[in-house]
């Protein structure tokens, strides 16, 4: 199993450009998440999905959009990129347990710079 894969690994965008960060998991997990990590900070939840066709906002959703058309894929769309979106983006997935710790598995991250 590849686990959670993310593409691209690195990207430089100009202000106002748009792009899609790809995320795929092969563990048949129900839940998927997008986080961003700014320097010296913890991970902040952008969006999450509890299953295909269902998404919801996290802590910092402004400037992003997501979709979940399949169980495996959860792309993150940046429209009108801004310097404040310079960050490392992590995708994660989990089975989605109701009781007990629901371990999240993370991808390797995408380092995005907006100039």
């Amino acid at each position: 199993n590849a686990g959670v894969t993310q593409t691209p690994k690195f990207r430089i965008l100009k202000i106002g450009q748009s792009m899609t960060l790809q995320c795929t998991q092969d563990m048949n997990h129900n839940y998927m998440y997008w986080y961003r990590q700014d320097p010296g900070m913890g991970l902040k939840l952008i969006y999450y999905s509890v299953g295909a066709g269902i998404t919801d906002k996290g802590e910092v959703p402004n400037g992003y959009n997501v979709s979940r058309s399949t169980t495996e894929d959860f792309p993150l769309r940046l429209e009108l990129a801004a310097p404040s979106q310079t960050s490392v983006y992590f995708c994660a997935s989990s089975y989605g347990t109701v009781i007990g710790p629901d371990t999240q598995y993370f991808g390797p991250g995408t380092r995005l710079t907006v100039l």
Partner: protein, 115 residues
Amino acid sequence: DQQVKQNSPSLSVQEGRISILNCDYTNSMFDYFLWYKKYPAEGPTFLISISSIKDKNEDGRFTVFLNKSAKHLSLHIVPSQPGDSAVYFCAASLVTTGANSKLTFGKGITLSVRP
């Protein structure tokens, strides 16, 4: 308002000695606490968790202690090894309708284990 706090940004210990990483939280409704480990250029990986109904959980060299009255948890690594050098994130899970999967992360502690 930070609900999960890791107030010490870094810790350096000698190989073979104990590493103690601390974490404080403010929300008494958190029901699970997790530690994630992150190497540079990789995504976080799950290390160990503890339920709010326990005060200790052990897994090999790693032990997590929870003091609910003080809203404090700590991760003990004994003995510390150079390969343990990484950033350690404390995270807390809050039960929400349908799942307990949403995590709140601290800023992380950089552990350096000196040979």
